[in-house]
Symmetry: D3
Subunit: 64 residues, 6 copies
């Protein structure tokens, strides 16, 4: 039943997301006992213009 | 004032979202008394590669 | 598989949440065809000091 | 360390997001003391068909 | 209509939240033109045991 | 820089959350290359009355 929302910079491959989703599902099952089939993992693919750390957009940061 | 975020697999039509948003707004009004004009419903349209249940991506699941 | 997060002012009864969760689950099933058992509804119960509309906290607004 | 998710109607320019992210980061630093470099601001760009207020989609509302 | 979710470590005062909510609402209005009364800011007050940066819980980090 | 929100039924121990946060941070680092210190994991501890699957509240389900 656990629900996990992962916000990542856009551009991660399907294989990367698959591997991360498997690990998260496995980890929650292992440590909390929640059945794997009940865990949902949702990725939000965020554009570099839509993500700021320390007040600087990722797309500007990458330029430096 | 209630805020509702709905994550759905990408591809639902405008009509489907409209009908769901109306029902959610009506239901919250009916059961909690919150005025309808104060309720916000936001849909997040998620790609099949960005959604996993039980550790399996939706896009892989659909293939089976 | 749809996931719904509902943010409400703290204090709604269990019965209110139950009725809203049933309506949302039914509506998504009816309009999108998603099986009811796959829909998750999560309520976030927000304190009146932690919610602002138009820059005014709910707890200050209620006083007026 | 604070994390801020901002849902906006799609179409805001990079400059608008940059200015809002800077202001939010500055404000949280000023009022709570959190170091600026630890604050993350993520914008979710929502389509007009995926946003409803008072049960009416933004894309229908704009037409009136 | 913009919706802002702010996750902060539990313990910020009402005055801190009020000031941050006012600044965010003002900034979004100034830079995007959205009317102030349409902006919602929701704070999620997170326990130190429920927040990790770099794999370390905030409550463990504070001890060092 | 990745941000992960995990919604779990209230009552998981600090040790469980710590182990899950470490695994998620490690997995994202391993598969996407994101530096570990940039990953934030936030747990939302949800009451059994505030979580529904298939239209049934967790607190009612547990009784059966």
């Amino acid at each position: 039943m656990p629900v996990v929302h992962v916000s990542l910079i856009k551009g991660r491959s399907k294989e990367v997301k698959k591997a991360i989703a498997q690990d998260i599902t496995e980890s929650i099952h292992k440590h909390s006992g929640a059945p794997k089939e009940g865990t949902t993992v949702i990725f939000h693919d965020i554009d570099g213009d839509s993500w700021a750390a320390g007040g600087t957009l990722f797309s500007d940061r990458a330029k430096k």
